[in-house]
Every structure is written in structure tokens, then in C-alpha cells.
Symmetry: C2
Subunit: 708 residues, 2 copies
């Protein structure tokens, strides 16, 4: 037993490297398939080029902010060694997060054409290929996440948590940018393409005459693929960091090692899960989903058994395993609740029924279901917290560790979750490419089914991503206390209450900013697509091609121009609250943010998904089917839901984590600063002016050109 | 000075009686005008009968709950004398709240016909009459509110606050019922009438062929008039109670007397304001609004001067006056912010612009403006709290008193606010009656203008009602601490955090329930109106009359059947949280509720009002005017906004106050109960089952009959 603990770090390190190797092997497996005919290659290349161009420019835009923050992090270090470590870890975290997103996206943009081409071999083959491509990103996420954390821990030992905060912050910040930027991009292109194509011109989705159609495909990759991977990378990282901080404070070394071991276990069970997906001989959507869910089940069961073995070996304390298991149970419940809110059940059926009285009642019934779904999800999280608290009854610090372990448990299967999620845009793209390059018949019907499976896995993992972000944020919130040395956060103190009110308002501000950014970017896309239809004479007849690249370029610019304000809000507001209202109020601020962040994010994600599915149900023939008034009403719901479920909702995840990490980083400075000097005031006033300027700029609206 | 304090109670009592007398005199002034021709009388009588029938049945529905709660309150009393006092005060509070609503509504349903008839005498005359009728309710609200509180204080002395909690709870509970029931009624009728009349049949609003048109008018009275009056009566009451509790704990007798004196002053300045409304010779909407706002200005300035005189006389401490003044300043800022969010400014203009691309972008741009508007409003409240905290720097209890005084300041002009608000439905009804009874020409154009003024005053007072509810709730939250003897509410304790998460979820659940209730009731109305169009042969040609009474009856039943669940949630959930998670967690629960309640309520109210105004701007000719695609798009926004702004949003005000008061009432029992006995568990399980049953019932949907 002793020897196991002594050798634990090498084992964990090996696990992380195995994860990376499996990822590379999977990529190789995917890439050895033929890319397809010239037309397919052309379309696929256009998507890849657009996506890479976007990421490249996004990184360029972010670079100065990362540089400034690296200096800032250097100054938050308590000793020179820690200062360098933290700044370096921040860079590393940013780099890894960006890397996961970029590589994942590159594999996805290569797998799409290959999946489209392989579809003629059969449903099972195409599903396997797309899933393997998704798993490349999945395994890279867990491999790199664990590698970074382990190396830092090995080098810094007891001081590691100080440095790991930098690593987590780097990952979170990049995730925030990628979620916001990618989210704006994907929905601006999607909604823009639909509003001109489907609504004005009455041409089908993914029609090659629509100039925004390539941008739409690019969006799937930069949003769902890169953004999601970076986001989950970060939750994975942040729960680990929080668990290590709280574990060290409560249980000493075993408390730090247990989370690392659980992550190593997770690498193993994720690999097991990925290779358990057996799609051979399957032909139906339901079968495909079941194959994936079965693999997920295998992975969770083995993980749970592993928790108990590890907690016995490392800490001889089954409570650690029980707390970790509550997280696994929570993820099961979240899957269920998400399905109840967005699948073929009462709330969605209600939307379908209400579509008979037009778009207004579609929107209202969506709000009804969405508002209540967020209640049940937060209740599930609350019960999990209470249970992990009761496990360590009587010891509040240990209870906080219990919550962090629940987060660890939730994210044990991250490798598999990311695989499931990345599968979505690949299947979606494959289907889009086949439409654009004229692949028809059996292949197309298979790809349509894959797309449907992808939509289901995307929707379920989205609920999971939010819940895990909140559990991660709660763990960070508890580490904030440990870090600041506060005895508590007394919300009845007026300044704490005020911090709390402001914190609760931030997710609303953030959602407003991101929805606005989508609308504005969308306006730009609509203008350009309309212009092309008007000015390119043979476009509508199909004799001339639209200028796809121009829309891609323009969407990129529009999305990036809206990137700064939400990020500034996430970074500057907690600092301002900390200095103006002090550390305890900053704690109240975090609590407020977590609460409304969770409520709003789930509301937006579920409502959007429910509208989407209601539209699909009508398209499948209910209430008059495609083209009916009911269909038009559900299209309105779907369009409203798009930015909610794919931009604002998901972007709230990194938002609350970034704000918690910023708080942890500035807390020591805030605690040390008893009175504000003139310099402080100058900086504060400057920050407020800067923020106000950016927010007021983002309120301005572009003008819409007349439709043809 | 001493003699002033000694004679203060008689002075306060006289002020309350003067308020009531002025109210009676105003009613008499209104009623002496002629009611109008036979047709007008008929329509007016139908509305009055419908409204009274609704209120009567509503009271019958509520009665058993009030009886049960009276017993419950009796058992929360610490001594037999206090037990009887509290139970009696509860009944009195309920009765007064119901009385204010009923009398206000009765005057309104008599003033509507008189205003319609007087319109031929000119704009100024009609405006004056409608405003006087509104002021009847306004003065009754402040008169009865102050009378109740003063009598209780006179009789119980130092123990009065124990009893006053019962009084406040009675008022709050009735307000909750009246807001929820009235809100559901008014929007079910309104939306139902519009969806069949305007959308399906293409007939104008208030067309006599529409069977729901009388129900729609009834709805204006039971929702906007009775619901609003009861709600503000309660805020008025609750801030007074909270200020007396906290003032007593901090400053002793002067701390209790000052709030009473401020209320007496408010009666005087409200009367002054009401009589300063000079509409003579005015002809335009802008002039009318300015006349009302000028009176409001006079009233506030005199009030502010009075605060300083009173604080000098009673406590020789200008800080009391300063804290009270922050409340007045806050109400000014709230008016401004509401106007910026819902008036002719950027957010509404943006919606108008986005109407070019259809209903989806109308909804999205509304969300953008609504989400951000709630941020600025909560920021204004946060700053007010900080300022009142800084006034009493260094003394947290006094700081809480400061917040309560800010609430007192806000509600000083309640008499005038209620007048402005009740004016709305009267003007609206007058216009409706004239349409229904064939009054045309100059009269109708004047009534249209009055209606527009009423819409403006209603929208601004709505923002005010919410903000004052939140400030009232914050004061109650602080009194909760004083009452429980807790040293603080440490939100980093897991069970407090969990209470806090659950509390934050309640306004979402509540909004979901109330929007659902509107949709369901609306379905019933639509079915009936469609049936009448189909089955009554000469209806569409105007040769036969529809059966108005049937729709009125049916809407009444539908609204009342949805009343129980939201009320049960408000009462049972805090009790459950208290017993299961203890007093400190219940404090966290309250904090969560206040936060999301404020954010959601303002979001819903402002977004709804912005959509409404965007529609009006399009109807006035922008973007193609009436009948254009832009207009249809904004009608969708308006319909979505209707239940948000008139049902769910306003109902959140009494919700958070009721939950705070329930918490204060059960707190001593919770604190005394260390371990839960078997009986406790049985009750808890029973309560959970009851609640689950009601919530699951409310999720079921009625079926919609086919349209003709």
C-alpha cells in the first residue's frame, strides 16, 4: 500500500502520457481513411481553411491580453519562485487549452469529409469513424490536463496548488474566449444563413447557393468543437485544482493524491469506454445512441469500483470514494433531467401543441419548460452538495472537499464526454458536406441519422458541461475561503450583500452582451448574403457560385470584434468588487454569480434545445409538418433558441470559473490592502471608465441593408 | 420638541384618518359625475359585475387558506396575548389589503364610464376625473396602512413589532393572491381576445363582436387595479414594519417613532401631490404626463424637507433623514432607468429595427435589452444600500436600519404612486367602453391620449413597485437576523449554500407556474371565443351579440384554479427549508430569492414593456406601420411580453415578501427545534408530497379545440 502511494506520481504521469498516445493513435486511425472525391475535398478544405483562419485570428486577438495577464499573474506570486511558476503555468494552461481546441478542430475538419465518404460502406462504419475522431479530442483533453497538473505537482510539491491556480486560470480564460468567440461565430452564420436562405429565399438548409453555408459549417467546428473542448478541459482542470487545494487543507498528502489518482483512473476508464462503442451492424438512430450510452455505462461502473479501491489504497477512508461517486450519480441525473426537458417528453410536446396558435405561444411554452427545468437541475446539485456534506458530517472543511470530490467524480469520464460532444459537429459537417457536394441516396440517409445522433449527444453533454462547471465553481468558491483565510462569508453584512447583488447581475449582463453580439454579427451576415443574391446574377439559378470566403471572413471579423467586452467584464468586475468592497464581499459576489449563472445557463441551454426539438418534431410531420403555419412558428422558436443554447448558455460556464479564479488570484492582494491609496483609486476609476466605454460601445447597433 | 414626540402618535393617527377622509371625498367627487348614456352604462355594468364576481369568488377560494393560517399564526405567538394579537393582526392585514383592492376596483369600474362620458368636455376634465378616481385608491392605501400599524403600535407598545409581522403577512398574502389571480385573469383574457380577434379574424381590438372583450376589460381592473393596490399596500406596510423592528433594535423609541412620522408626512405630501395635478387647458399626451410628474416632483421635494425636520425633532440625528432621502433618490433613478429601458430610447428602437427580420429577432433584441436593464436597476439598488450603509458606518445593525429607511423613503409617495397606477386601467377602460358603446370623434381621440398616458404611468410605477419590494425584502431579511438572533448568514457553509441555491430557484419556478397558468387559461378563452364565432351565426356580421358573460365566467374559473400552487410554493418551501436545513440556511434561502426575484422581475417587466412600446411605435407608422410584416413581428413580441410584464413579473414582488415574512414567522420555532421528531418528519413528508402533487398537476396542459 505504502509502495503504491510512493509510486503514485509515476503511475499518474504514465496515465496522462498513455492518454495522449491513444489520442495520437486515434487521429492516425481517422486520417488513414480516404478523404473522398474532389468535390468533397474542396468543400472540406474550404471549411478547414475558414476554421483555421478564424482560430489563428482569434489567437492573435487574444495574445496581448494573455501577455498582460502573464505579468499580472507574476505579481500575484508570493515568492519569486511561485511568481515565475504561476505565470508560467498560466501560459501553459492557456497553451494547452488552445492546443486541445485547435487539434480537436483540425481532426474534426478532416474527419468530416472522411465520414461523408465512408458512409457508403454503412452506418456502423461511419459512426465508428466519426466517434474515433471525436475521441481524439477527448483523450487529448484528459491527457494534457492530467500531464500539466501532474508535472506542476511533481515540481512544486506542497506549493503546487499556488501554481496550479495559474494553470487553471490559463485554461479557463482561453475557454472563455473560445466559447464566446466560437459561439458568436457559429450562431451568426447559422441564423444569418437561415434567415436569408430558408425564410426569405425558400431554399433548403445547406444549399450551395447560400453564401453563408460554408461559414455555417465553419461555425460548427469553431463553436461546438473547439469551444466545447476548451471548456471541458478547463472544468476538468479546475475541479482537480480545487480538490487538491481542499484535500491538502483537510487530509494532507492523501487528500492531494486521491484526486490525481482518480484522474489517472478516469483516463483508463475513458479509453475503455471509447473502445466499448460497438457500432457494427447497427442501422438505426436509437441503436447508435444506445451503443454510445452503453459504453458510457461501462466506463462509469468501472470508474466507481475504482474509486473505492483507490480511496482504500491511498487514504483508507471510503468516504472519499462515496463523495466521488455522488458526482457520477449527479451526472446520471443531469442526463436524465436534460432529456426530460429537451427530449420527446411533456415540455417539448407542449411547445409542439402550442405551435398551433403561432410563434408567441411557442416562445411562452418554451419559457415555461425552460424556467422549471433549471429549478430541477439546481435542486439535483443542491442535493449532491448536501449528501457530500453529510458524508463528512461535522467537519465543514472536509465537507468542502466532499463537494470538490463530487466534481472530480462528475468529470471522471471527461474523455468520453468530450468524444460524444465532438462527434456532434463532425456528423453535422459530414452531412453538410454531402449536401454541398451532391452525395445522395443511402449515404445521405446514413449521414442524416448520424447528424440526429450528434444532436442528441450534444444536447445531453451540454447540460453536463454546465452542471460540472457549477460544481467546479462551488469547489473554487470553497478554495477561495481557504485561500483568503476568511472565517466565512456573512451575507447579512451590507457590503457582502451588495457584492452578492452585483455578482448575481453579471450572468445577465454577460448574456445580454453575447446575444447582442450574435444579433449584430448576424446582421452583417444577412447583409452580405442578401447583397450576393442581388449582385451575382446567376446565383439563384445555380449557374454562378457565391463568394463563400467573403462571408467567412466577415463573420470572423464580426465575432472577434465582440470578444473583448464579455472577457473584460469577467476579469475586471471581480477585481473592482474586491478592492472597493473587500474580500468578504468578493466572496458574496462569487456566490451570486454561481447562483444566477447556473440558473440562466441551464434555462438558456434547455429552452433552446427544446425549441430545436419541437421544430424537428413538426418537421417530422406533426401539426401539419414542414411548410405549415405550425412549422413557421417553431422555426421562430428555434431561431430565438439558437444563440441562447449555443452562445450565451455555454459561455456562462467559463465565465463563472474565470471570475472565481480571478477572485482567488487577487484575494491575497485585496486582503493585504487595507486602505486604498491614490494610485489604487486612479486604477479603479480608469478600470470603470474602460469598462463603461466597452459596454456602451457594445450597445450600439449596426444598420441593416434592405432585403431584395 | 419633547411635546412633539409625546403627541406624535395622535398626530400620526390623525394623518391616517385624514388620508381615509380624503379618499372618501375623492370617491364622492368622482361619483357625482353622470355615468353616461344607456349603452355606456350597460358596458360599464357588465365590466363591474364581472370584476366583482371575480373578486368575490377569489375571496371565497382564499378564505380557507386564511383561516388555516390564522391558526398557524396563533401558534407562533410567544405569549397568549401576542398570539391573539398576531392572529388578529393577520386577519386585519388581509382584510385591509382585500379592502383596498376591492374599493379601488369598484371606484375604477365606476369611474371608467364617467371618464368616457366626460371626455366630450375636454382632455383636462377627463384626465382630472380619472386621476381623482385613481387617487381614491391611493389615499385609501396609505390611510388604512398607517391606521392599522399605528393602532397596533399604540396598543402593544414595545411588543408591537411581534404583532405587526402578522399584519404585514396578512397584507402580503392577500397581495400575492390578488397579483397572481388578477395577473392570470387579465392576460388570459387579453391574449385570448387578441389571438382570436386580431390574428385569426382580423377584427380590431375592443371590437364588440369578440366574446372575450368584456373579460379583457374586467381583467384590467382585477389585475392592474386590485392587484397593484394590494401589492403596494403591502410594500408600504412591510417597509414600515421592518423599519420599526430595526429602528427599535438600534435607536430605541426614536428609531420606532421616526418611521411612523415619515409615513404621516407621506400622507400629507401625497395629498399635496394629488391636488397639484393641474390638467386644466392641457390637450397633449406629453402635457398630461408632465402635469402628473410635476405633482410628483412637488411631493418629493416637500417630503425631503420634511424628513430633515422630523429627524431633527425626533432623534436629533440628520443621518435618519439622509438615509430616508436615499430612497427618494433611488425612486427617481428607477423611474429614469425604466424609461431608458422601455421608452423611446435605444433598446426599444433596436427592437423596432429588428422587426424587419421577423419575430425571432424581435424576441432576441428584447432579451438583450431586458437582460441588461435588470443589471442597471440592481446596481442602483446596490449603490443605495452601500450609501445607507456608509451613513451609519461602523455599526452593522444601524446600517440595516439605514436600508429600511431607504425603503421608507421610496414609499413615502405611495399615495401618489398608487394614484398614478390606478389611473392606467381607468383610462384604458374608458377608452374600451367608448369603443364598445360607439362613442367616436373628439371624445375617442381624447380617451386614446389618456390611455397612452396611463400606459406610461403604469410602466414606470411597475419598475418602482419591484424595486420597492426588493428594498422591503432586504429590510425584512435584516429583521430576520434580528429576530433569529443569528450572528450572521455564512454562505460558505454547505447547508446555507444549498438553502441559497434553492431560494434562488424559486422565482424561476414561480415564473414558470404563472406563465403556464396564463397559457392554460388563455387556451380556454381561445376555445370559447372560437366556438362562439363558429356557433353563433350572425356574430361576425354584427347582427347577433356574443355571450360575454360566459367568457368572463370561464376566465374566472381558469384563473382561480391556478391560484393555489404558486401560493403553496411561497408558503411551504421556506418552512421546509427552515426545518430541514435550519435557520441559517433559511437566511441563505431568502438571500437567493431576493437576488433572482429582483433580476427576473425587472427583466420580465421591462422586456414586456419594451416589446409593447416597440409594437406601438410600428403601429404609429415606423417600418411600414400597421399590417406590415414588421408589425406582425412586433405583435408576437407584445404577446410574449404580456404575461411576463403583467403576470409573472409583478407577482414576484409579493412572492419574495411573503417568503421573507413566512421565514420570520417560523424562525423561532426552527431555532427551538434542535432535532426533528417523528411527527415533524411526517409533516415534512406530507408537505413535500402535497407540493409535488400540486406542481405536477400544474404541468398538465388542456387541449385546444380546432380553430374555425
Amino acid at each position: 500500500m505504502e509502495s503504491f502511494v510512493a509510486n503514485l506520481l509515476p503511475i499518474v504521469l504514465s496515465a496522462s502520457i498513455i492518454g495522449i498516445i491513444v489520442s495520437i493513435w486515434l487521429a492516425w486511425e481517422v486520417l488513414k481513411h480516404p478523404e473522398g472525391n474532389k468535390k468533397v475535398q474542396e468543400v472540406s478544405q474550404a471549411i478547414r481553411e475558414g476554421a483555421n483562419a478564424y482560430l489563428k485570428r482569434q489567437f492573435k486577438t487574444i495574445a496581448p491580453i494573455v501577455v498582460i495577464l502573464t505579468f499580472f499573474l507574476y505579481f500575484t506570486g508570493k515568492t519569486p519562485q511561485l511568481a515565475i511558476g504561476r505565470a508560467g503555468a498560466f501560459l501553459l494552461g492557456s497553451f494547452f487549452s488552445a492546443l486541445v481546441g485547435t487539434i480537436g478542430m483540425n481532426i474534426a475538419t478532416r474527419a468530416n469529409a472522411r465520414t461523408a465518404t465512408l458512409a457508403n460502406k454503412g452506418f456502423g462504419e461511419a459512426l465508428s469513424l466519426a466517434f474515433k475522431a471525436g475521441a481524439t479530442t477527448g483523450m487529448l483533453t484528459v491527457g494534457l490536463g492530467l500531464l500539466g497538473a501532474t508535472l506542476i505537482y511533481w515540481y512544486y510539491g506542497n506549493l503546487a496548488t499556488e501554481v496550479l491556480v495559474g494553470f487553471g486560470f490559463g485554461g479557463s480564460l482561453l475557454a472563455l474566449f473560445m466559447r464566446v468567440g466560437g459561439g458568436i461565430y457559429t450562431k451568426a452564420a447559422d441564423v444569418g444563413a437561415d434567415l436569408v436562405g430558408k425564410v426569405e429565399k425558400n431554399i433548403p438548409e445547406d444549399d450551395p447557393r447560400n453564401a453563408a453555408v460554408i461559414a455555417d459549417q465553419v461555425g460548427d467546428n469553431v463553436g461546438d468543437c473547439a469551444g466545447m473542448a476548451a471548456d471541458l478541459f478547463e472544468s476538468y482542470e479546475v475541479t482537480l485544482v480545487a480538490a487538491m487545494i481542499l484535500g491538502g487543507a483537510t487530509f494532507g498528502l492523501p487528500g492531494v493524491l486521491f484526486p490525481l489518482a482518480v484522474r489517472a483512473l478516469g483516463v483508463g476508464t475513458s479509453i475503455l469506454g471509447i473502445f466499448s462503442v460497438n457500432a457494427k451492424g447497427k442501422t438505426e438512430i436509437k441503436e447508435g445512441i444506445n451503443a454510445i450510452l452503453k459504453a458510457f455505462g461501462v466506463s462509469t461502473i468501472v470508474s466507481t469500483i475504482g474509486f473505492f479501491i483507490l480511496s482504500d489504497l491511498i487514504a483508507s477512508d471510503p468516504r472519499l470514494a462515496i463523495a466521488t461517486t455522488t458526482g457520477i450519480v449527479l451526472s446520471g441525473i443531469i442526463f436524465l433531467l436534460t432529456d426530460l426537458a429537451t427530449g420527446d417528453h411533456a415540455p417539448v410536446k407542449d411547445i409542439v401543441k402550442q405551435s398551433q396558435t403561432g410563434p408567441a405561444t411557442v416562445i411562452l411554452s418554451g419559457l415555461v419548460g425552460g424556467f422549471s427545468s433549471t429549478v430541477w437541475q439546481i435542486l439535483a446539485i443542491a442535493i449532491t452538495i448536501i449528501v457530500s456534506f453529510m458524508i463528512f458530517r461535522g467537519d465543514p472543511t472536509a465537507a468542502a472537499y466532499g463537494v470538490a470530490l463530487a466534481g472530480m467524480g462528475m468529470l471522471t469520464t471527461t474523455g468520453l464526454i468530450v468524444s460524444m460532444d465532438s462527434f456532434g459537429p463532425i456528423a453535422d459537417n459530414a452531412q453538410g458536406i454531402s449536401e454541398l457536394s451532391g452525395i445522395k441516396g443511402k449515404s445521405l440517409s446514413i449521414l442524416n441519422k448520424l447528424d440526429a445522433i450528434g444532436n442528441t449527444t450534444k444536447a445531453t453533454t451540454k447540460g453536463f458541461a454546465i452542471a460540472s462547471a457549477v460544481v467546479a465553481a462551488v469547489s473554487l468558491f470553497e478554495s477561495y475561503l481557504t485561500d483568503t483565510g476568511l472565517s466565512g462569508i456573512n451575507i447579512s453584512h451590507p457590503e457582502v450583500f451588495v457584492g452578492f447583488l452585483i455578482g448575481g447581475a453579471i450572468p445577465f449582463l454577460f448574456s445580454s452582451l453575447t446575444i447582442k453580439a450574435v444579433s449584430d454579427s448576424c446582421f452583417a451576415v444577412i447583409n452580405e448574403v442578401r447583397r450576393q443574391f442581388k449582385e451575382i446574377p446567376g446565383l439563384m439559378k445555380g449557374t454562378q457560385k457565391p463568394d463563400y470566403a467573403r462571408v467567412v471572413d466577415l463573420t470572423t471579423k464580426a465575432a472577434l470584434s465582440s470578444l473583448a467586452t464579455p472577457a473584460l467584464v469577467a476579469i475586471i468586475v471581480p477585481i473592482l468588487v474586491g478592492f472597493l468592497l473587500k474580500a468578504e464581499a468578493l466572496g458574496g459576489f462569487l456566490a451570486g454569480t454561481i447562483l444566477t449563472g447556473q440558473l440562466l445557463a441551464v434555462f438558456m441551454a434547455n429552452t433552446g434545445a427544446a425549441w430545436d426539438n419541437a421544430k424537428k418534431m413538426v418537421e417530422e410531420g406533426q401539426m401539419g409538418g414542414k411548410g405549415s403555419d405550425s412549422h413557421k412558428a417553431t422555426v421562430v422558436g428555434d431561431t430565438v433558441g439558437d444563440p441562447l443554447k449555443d452562445t450565451s448558455g455555454p459561455a456562462v460556464n467559463p465565465l463563472i470559473k474565470v471570475m472565481n479564479l480571478v477572485a482567488i488570484l487577487v484575494a491575497p492582494i485585496v486582503v493585504a490592502t487595507n486602505t486604498l491609496s491614490a494610485v489604487h483609486w486612479i486604477i479603479i476609476v480608469f478600470a470603470i471608465i474602460l469598462l463603461s466605454y466597452f459596454i456602451s460601445q457594445s450597445q450600439k447597433s449596426p444598420t441593416l441593408a434592405k432585403g431584395s
